[in-house]
């Protein structure tokens, strides 16, 4: 579904992502964890095609993000870490805008909008301008807009931030549902408990480099994901201490 091969992205002299390779298959929920500034968002944005990268290749269902961006973008949906939506539009106008761009038939679109808006309990608010929405409501709207064309691959950057417990629970169900129907999810999170319970596979990135990846069991063994993550972080701290 998603192949990231030797991805490298530099900001000036600094390598934000360094030779990162990952393969995500159909039916997989793939968690992406790492400390702040590790390179998670840069990687996700590169996959979505909104960030240019220096080296490597990203393929979605065999299509290159660089060479066939439109084909790739039709297959995927993206939810950023901060739901900066069009504040001047109402919720329903925004969803219709997304539906139009993806060519979702009006009847199908309406059915999906009602389904997900009812689930997240924002149907009544859809006529309100987005500027009047709370952070959580914007996040819910961003999620509905991502699901509106039933993409095969969903890329999410910290999707649970700002969601109430019920909405977070619903989202987890929606993620599993997409994967059960042959899709895939690639998302970053700092909530390690969620990653541990939800993900089929996980990748840990540090300083732009992939330091561990695989199935949950392969990565954490008998420990918790938190223990593994902190251990890997400590190694870095220890390396620095040894160096000094």
């Amino acid at each position: 579904m998603l192949q990231i091969e030797h991805l490298t992205k530099c900001y000036g002299e600094k390598k934000a992502v360094d030779d990162l390779s990952l393969h995500i298959h159909e039916g997989e929920i793939y968690g992406f964890i790492g400390h702040n500034g590790a390179g998670k968002t840069t990687t996700l944005k590169s996959v979505v095609g909104i960030q240019q990268f220096d080296e490597g290749e990203i393929l979605i269902n065999g299509h290159s993000v660089l060479k066939e961006p439109l084909v790739c973008k039709k297959e995927l949906a993206y939810i950023p870490d901060n739901p900066d939506l069009y504040e001047h539009m109402s919720g329903i106008k925004y969803l219709n805008f997304i539906g139009d761009v993806f060519g979702v038939e009006p009847e199908v679109r309406q059915e999906r909008i009602h389904k997900y808006a009812d689930m997240f309990e924002i149907t009544k608010d859809l006529a309100q301008p987005i500027s009047a929405y709370s952070h959580g409501m914007k996040q819910k709207l961003a999620i509905i807009s991502a699901w509106i064309h039933e993409p095969k691959l969903i890329i999410m950057d910290e999707p649970f931030v700002g969601l109430d417990p019920k909405a977070a629970h619903l989202l987890k169900g929606m993620m599993r549902d997409i994967c059960d129907r042959g899709g895939a999810i690639f998302f970053s999170t700092h909530v390690l408990e969620v990653a541990e319970k939800l993900c089929d596979k996980v990748a840990i990135i540090k300083g732009g480099q992939l330091i561990k990846s695989g199935t949950m069991d392969e990565v954490k063994g008998d420990d918790s994901l938190e223990e593994v993550f902190l251990e890997l972080e400590d190694e870095e701290v220890q390396d620095v201490k040894d160096f000094n």
Partner: protein, 532 residues
Amino acid sequence: MLKILIKKQMGEIFRQYFYNPKKNQARSKMSTILWFVFFVVIMVGVLGGMFTGLAISMVSMIDIGMAWFYFIMLSTVAIFLGAFGSIFNTFSMLYLGKDNDLLLSLPIRERDIIVSRLVSVYLLGLMYSATVAIPAIAVYLVHGGFDFVALLGGILWLFVISIIVLVISCLLGYVVAKASTKLKHKNIATVIIALIGFALYYVVCFKITDIIQTIVTNCLLYGEDIKEKAYAVYLFGAMATGDFLGMVIYVVASLILIYMTYVVLSRTFIKIATSTGVTVRVEYKAKAVKQKSAFGALLGKEFARFLGSANYMLNCGLGIILIPVAGIMLLVKGDVVRELIEQLASGQSDLVAVIVIAILCYMASMNDMVAPSVALEGKSLWIVRSLPVLTIQVLRAKIWMHFLLTEIPVLFTSICACIALEMEPLEYAFVIIEPTIIVILFSLFGMFVGLQKKPNLNWTNESYPLKQSMAVMLALFIGWGYATVVVVLYLFVAQPIGILAYLGIITVVNLILIGLLEYWLYHKAVRLFEEL
């Protein structure tokens, strides 16, 4: 802390002067100086030049010892321009900063936040007022002979004017703020109020020559009346000529005004800045939707963006109203307008078509919605970048929004001009075709200036990309400059070749420029947008 906040405000306003977005680094000192020089040249050269001419036309008042009246007249223009230039942004600059919550949560005195924002409003008003006041002082000193006390008086006069502008702007900003917390349809209400203001402004502008002429002719008579019945007004003008009493009274009064403005603002600031206002609770009811194409959706998004912001409409879309108003004027008051144009053409009938085209070109450049459209994407840029649409479609939607909103009124007024004015058959054709070509050219040029100077997407207030962006200023002034060139070139160079040949050449030149901008759009603009 105040210094830091002012620095932050200034950094946002003048970001482009200190920071090179292309290289993602600070500009060199020389580059910053050159940018400021360029800005000054634009302000002084275009607006300042216009008001120098106005001041020169009134020097007879200085000659007959009525210099104070000369300054009163120009004070009115300076205050009017200063207040008018900043009024529509004062509300958003004072109260609508996106960093309101952040700043109010930090251990910063509320006073410092207010003062730092007042400084921004003050500088904007000062900038506009100074384009009238500085030429007025210069003309007075050159014509009446240099005098240090008069220079000091002139500087204090400018200071007092700028304070009056600040107070008027804040007062009206406060009214808008209070109204916006109560009004249900803020954007529409703001636009309607603003349009009434504009209508008054243009009525005054239209009659200003007559008014000035009448006052200059009767200045001795009016002057005596003012001195007798409104001595304070006399003192205001006398201050600029170096009158000591006037200087003292008005400087003290200005300081009191500043303090009072501050007191009023500080008592109401938090309440207004943190108010979410009245939101009409519209409950969603499912309606049948029509499927749009991807481009149609993008175009709809651009229209929604434009209509969703009073600030955007007022700063960049005035032509939409003013151009058809000019067309209606042509139909209703055709005789008067024809006479006016014939006066301008000095009896040369071939000039009518050139003047009509230049006026339409001038008015068309009052629509600048495409210039800030990329910057206005702000932090929502990720949406169009992640959607399955071509970058060229995104840019085209912005250009089309500008084109449609400008071309429809321009075409209407072109037709009105053809009905109301007598011209040769081919001249009619040019009056219809040429403005359309110019609108296409300006639509592309607006995108060029908006994108070529890497737009700032990290603004904290919508006013920055709309009001303080170099792109909008360039689109407006270069459009005006172009309109002037069209007339001047014909008058002084191309008249011997005849009007039709000249308009033909202008058309070809415009088409070549459109071709070049189209090439830029496909080859460079797409890349620039994708690199944002």
